[in-house]
């Protein structure tokens, strides 16, 4: 089951990655990143079963960090929305080359 859990984790992770690549909406992109974090958490939990409690602790911290990131990230999205009136990342290309 461990190997399957890891596989599942990997699949979830790459799906999240795909989302980051192909979505334009900043919020969805962020959501996909959360998906990746979740995948990692799954791996941690699965591995911690036979390794020790550290893995679960790590997941605990990751969740907290995810929460913190969510707060900051959404704040940033709100902030930029005020400038552009959109969250389409394609529109944010003042900085390039």
């Amino acid at each position: 089951m461990l190997s399957h859990a890891l596989l599942l984790s990997a699949v979830l992770f790459v799906i999240g990655t795909l989302g980051v690549i192909i979505r334009r909406n900043a919020i969805i992109i962020f959501l996909c990143i959360e998906l990746q974090l979740n995948a990692v958490n799954l791996a941690f939990v699965a591995l911690s079963r036979y390794t020790g409690i550290e893995g679960q602790l790590f997941v605990f911290f990751v969740m907290t960090v995810a929460a913190a990131e969510a707060a900051v990230g959404l704040a940033i999205i709100i902030s930029i929305f005020r400038h552009y009136k959109t969250v389409d990342v394609d529109k944010f290309n003042l900085l390039k080359w």
Binding site: M1, L2, S3, H4, A5, L6, L7, L8, A10, V11, L12, F13, V14, I15, G16, L18, I21, I22, R23, R24, N25, I27, I28, L31, C32, E34, L35, N38, N41, L42, V45, A46, L47, R49, Y50, T51, G52, I53, E54, Q56, L57, F60, F61, M63, T64, V65, A66, A67, A68, E69, A70, A71, V72, L74, A75, I78, S79, F81, V87, D88
Partner: protein, 180 residues
């Protein structure tokens, strides 16, 4: 039995993940995400991480996703929907790269045995179970958290403080004087 549950949760998690990526509206994505989170929480339970499963549902699916929902609502993104999913060559490329990445990343995962190559794996699992019996599902996490990992814990507190400050600073509306 566990296998069946695992497959079930896995299928739902995967479906939810795909839904997150491809659904047309942010709200739908969000809901798919909740489904995934819940399924993953179920898998946590299968791995005897009950406390985390609870937190997953409460904090993740409950609080964080709601925060997302609030923001989507706040920015009124549900209505003036525009296709933000890339198609065509770009997604194909993305798909190929991501698929290959998966292949490379997970190519050895099937070889992982049930104890993760750990000779003392079974013992560790048994010890964990014993600790759960003794300290409760929260206790096994709490005990190291406030002893060995107290530094990390304090650090996390600081991190949350920074996140608050950052969120406040960034989300605060622009002062009138600054607008031109």
């Amino acid at each position: 039995m566990t296998e069946i549950f695992f497959i079930l949760f896995a299928v739902v998690a995967l479906g939810g993940a795909v839904g997150v990526v491809i659904s047309r509206t942010p709200i739908a994505s969000l809901l798919f995400m909740v489904a995934t989170l819940a399924s993953v929480a179920g898998i946590y339970v299968l791995f005897e991480a009950h406390f985390l499963a609870a937190i997953q549902v409460l904090v993740y699916a409950g609080a964080i996703m709601v925060l997302f929902l609030f923001v989507i609502m706040l920015l009124n993104l549900g209505h003036d929907y525009r296709a933000d999913l890339r198609f065509g060559l770009w997604s194909l490329l993305g798909f190929v790269v991501v698929g290959l990445t998966f292949g490379v990343l997970a190519q050895g995962f099937l070889d992982v045995n049930d104890t993760g190559f750990r000779e003392d794996g079974a013992a560790v699992a048994a010890a964990l179970d014993a600790a759960v019996q003794e300290q409760g599902v929260a206790g096994v996490i709490a005990e190291p958290l406030f002893t060995d990992y107290v530094v990390a814990f304090e650090l996390m507190g600081l991190l949350l403080l920074v996140a608050i400050v950052a969120a406040v600073v960034l989300a605060k509306p622009r002062s009138r004087s600054g607008e031109s």
